[in-house]
């Protein structure tokens, strides 16, 4: 019992000393920096650190210094909720940029609603942008949009009989479910379905079954992380000749590095960020995405990913809303200003928020890309 008290005393001391700060505006982040979703959380954290430093170098928000507190939930929703509670109760943050996955985000949203703190999240699923959550906003494209983009392309190429191979992780599963809701709308028929575990290292058995299925005209892989790269390699190894579609979960040049030559010919919907340098100069996003890509790659020595881009968008929307609201003290005003975001040009597209749309992106936010000679090209 004594020990418990001592541990407790130490804990109080550590928390207390960690919360002393002279910053005038405080933003809290709970991200999945480690664990199975680390390739979302890690670039998000790096982006946030880079741009928070940048804002302070420019003199802060309306002259007020910015402090950022980042916690790692390891992808565990329970841990995410604990850290979000800590940010709200102990660190007394003015706003939250939190939730790398749908599960962690859904654990955080109720806390932000209750505490009346503006929150921008980075989850994939549609529910995380439901405007019934008054204080919550989201920047990444939804998986439904990615599906529709793929299906539009399939329609154009007259490929209507497909097979789907999806990861059993939250991303792959959610996107697969969203795709199934719109197959009829686009006249697509799913002849066969396979799944793989998020940690699997060989998908040849599943792809063998797809190969054996007669009449399949294209294969769609919904998944993120290393899974799509392995699927792509196994796909070529088995010599499957019908077109392969990946999802926006691929998100980074790293996919091409991992999949190698096998990636050639693969199509996928992606944000403009991935093709920053080959965008026409007339593209309104060109300036923003090139600047972000250059800065991120220079500071981290790693290829830019769309996931870090989501954080850039969320951070900038938040900062601009705070500037318009004249600081962060009036949280209701910051929230209202986020909702009034119009024609914000981010890495994910052009954002137009409204009381009924807390995401603000439309289908044009996605570009259909095709990989040729180990590089992205615009397929349209």
């Amino acid at each position: 019992m004594n020990l418990l008290r001592k541990v407790f005393a130490v804990a109080v001391f550590v928390f207390a000393s960690a919360t002393v700060a002279d910053a005038q505006i405080k933003i809290g982040a709970v991200l999945s920096v480690t664990g199975p979703a680390s390739f979302l959380g890690d670039p998000e954290k790096r982006t946030l650190e880079i741009y928070a430093a940048e804002i302070n170098k420019q003199g802060g928000i309306n002259g007020q210094k910015l402090e950022v507190v980042i916690y790692d939930d390891g992808g565990d929703p329970n841990q995410a909720r604990t850290f979000a509670t800590r940010l709200i109760e102990e660190d007394k943050v003015d706003a939250l940029l939190a939730g790398s996955t749908t599960a962690t985000t859904m654990a955080i949203i109720p806390l932000a609603e209750e505490a009346k703190i503006p929150l921008i999240n980075f989850a994939g699923a549609v529910v995380a942008a439901d405007p019934k959550f008054k204080w919550n906003f989201k920047t990444p494209h939804t998986d439904l949009m990615a599906c529709e983009k793929i299906f539009v392309d399939l329609q154009k190429r007259k490929l209507t009989k497909i097979a789907i191979i999806s990861g059993t992780d939250a991303f792959g599963k959610s996107m697969r479910d969203q795709c199934m809701t719109v197959v009829k709308k686009y006249g697509i028929e799913v002849l066969h379905e396979e799944t793989y575990g998020p940690r699997d290292s060989d998908m040849t058995p599943q792809l063998t079954n797809i190969k054996a299925k007669a009449g399949v005209q294209a294969v769609v892989n919904t998944g993120f992380g290393q899974g799509p790269a392995i699927v792509t390699r196994n796909y070529r190894q088995l010599g499957i000749s019908v077109p392969l579609y990946q999802s926006h979960g691929v998100g980074s040049k790293q996919y091409i590095d991992l999949a190698g030559d096998a990636a050639n010919g693969v199509r996928l919907p992606a944000a403009a960020l991935l093709v920053a340098t080959i965008l026409p100069d007339s593209d309104p996003q060109k300036k923003v995405v090139v600047a972000y890509k250059t800065k991120y790659e220079a500071e981290t020595k790693q290829p830019v990913s769309t996931f870090g881009g989501h954080m850039y968008d969320g951070f900038m929307i938040m900062i601009e809303a705070m500037k318009r609201a004249g600081g962060a003290k009036d949280k209701g005003k910051v929230r209202d200003e986020i909702e009034k975001t119009k024609n914000f040009i981010g890495t994910g597209g052009v954002v137009n928020m409204s009381p009924t749309d807390h995401l603000g992106l439309d289908l044009s936010a996605f570009k259909m890309l095709e990989i040729k000679n180990g590089n992205w090209t615009l397929a349209e």
């Binding site: 418990l4 550590v14 928390f15 916690y71 604990t82 509670t85 800590r86 599960a103 859904m106 109720p110």
Partner: protein, 315 residues
């Protein structure tokens, strides 16, 4: 029963009760209430596991599965079958107990590490069902859990759950202490010391192991239900293999065969990640290092080793 034994038994429960009563006076905010509540909830599950590991000497790497059954019971029951939450909670506990009873019979015949791998497989099978049967469980994203409402009063917020979990923990500790001091408990300890010997002496080894296993499954399921109700949601992560490992680590760190050890072990692994945030990227390095060092120097667990050190000084 001697006075001393009486004090010893009730001393532990009494001490725990006093802690639960006094702690709110010093907890400064909802955040601290949450940490304390999580500690109590995990301690409840670890207490059950400790009965199996500490007293009956059986390793289980599958208690995350039972924890998950309790958690999903209060989520799936009300959502899909219209069972009210207050009924879904005991139903989940019953289900976990029944499952433990059914698979406990063949599984508990296995010895040592074979039992570990069998329970591990069981836990993974359960977690896999939660991930894959999405029409009932919401799949990898999980599902939301309705609030516990009793007689028109709705249980929500860290303070309410502090009391629910705290009182439950004291009750569970009382149950565990009674069991340990009963003939059943003596049988447990006999099994731990030497299974063949206790068999020879007429202890029905299989029966007592099964009792411990079933009871621990029920404790874990109740704890799982509490966590799901408190967080208002559940995901397969609740029942994951890592959860089972976490429970075993809590039990061993705190001290096998010690009721207080279960609480200390749970507190250790709940509080530590909060403290270690000061190390930023080095969090996991320090966590791993601390686990190694604690086990190296307090090898019987924090509570039993310290207790021995303290009592040795006093002649």
């Amino acid at each position: 029963m001697t006075m001393q034994a009486l004090l010893r038994r009730h001393g532990v429960v009494l001490g725990l009760a006093v802690l639960v009563l006094v702690l709110p006076l010093v907890l400064p905010s909802n955040f601290y209430f949450r940490i304390a509540t999580l500690t109590f909830i995990f301690a409840l599950a670890v207490l059950g596991l400790n009965l199996v590991m500490g007293y009956a000497g059986q390793v289980s790497l599958g208690h995350g599965g039972f924890f998950g059954i309790g958690a999903y019971a209060v989520a799936v029951g009300p959502t899909h079958f219209g069972i009210p939450v207050w009924a879904a909670l005991p139903l989940g506990a019953l289900l976990a107990g029944l499952l433990a009873f059914l698979i406990g019979r063949p599984i508990l015949k296995l010895k040592g590490h074979y039992l570990a791998v069998a329970t591990l497989g069981m836990g993974i099978l359960i977690a896999m069902v939660f991930t894959n049967e999405a029409q009932f469980t919401g799949g990898p994203d999980g599902m939301s859990v309705p609030r516990l409402v009793l007689f028109g009063w709705s249980a929500r917020g860290p303070v309410t759950w502090y009391w629910i979990s705290g009182v439950s923990l004291v009750g569970a500790a009382w149950l565990a202490m009674n069991l340990i001091d009963s003939p059943t408990g003596r049988a447990f300890r006999a099994i731990h010391d030497s299974e063949p010997a206790s068999g020879v002496l007429g202890v029905n080894v299989a029966r007592y192991k099964l009792i411990a296993f079933v009871l621990s499954a029920v404790f874990a399921a109740v704890a799982g239900a509490y966590l799901a109700l408190y967080d208002g949601g559940v995901t397969p992560r609740t029942a994951e293999f890592l959860r089972s490992i976490e429970f075993v680590t809590m039990a061993v760190l705190g001290g096998l065969g010690s009721v207080i050890g279960s609480v200390v072990g749970a507190a250790f692994l709940t509080i530590l990640p909060q403290v270690l945030t000061v190390f930023h990227d080095y969090e996991h390095v320090v966590l791993g290092l601390l686990i190694i060092l604690f086990m190296m120097f307090l090898r019987d667990g924090i509570v039993p080793t310290l207790a021995r050190l303290i009592f040795r000084r006093r002649p």
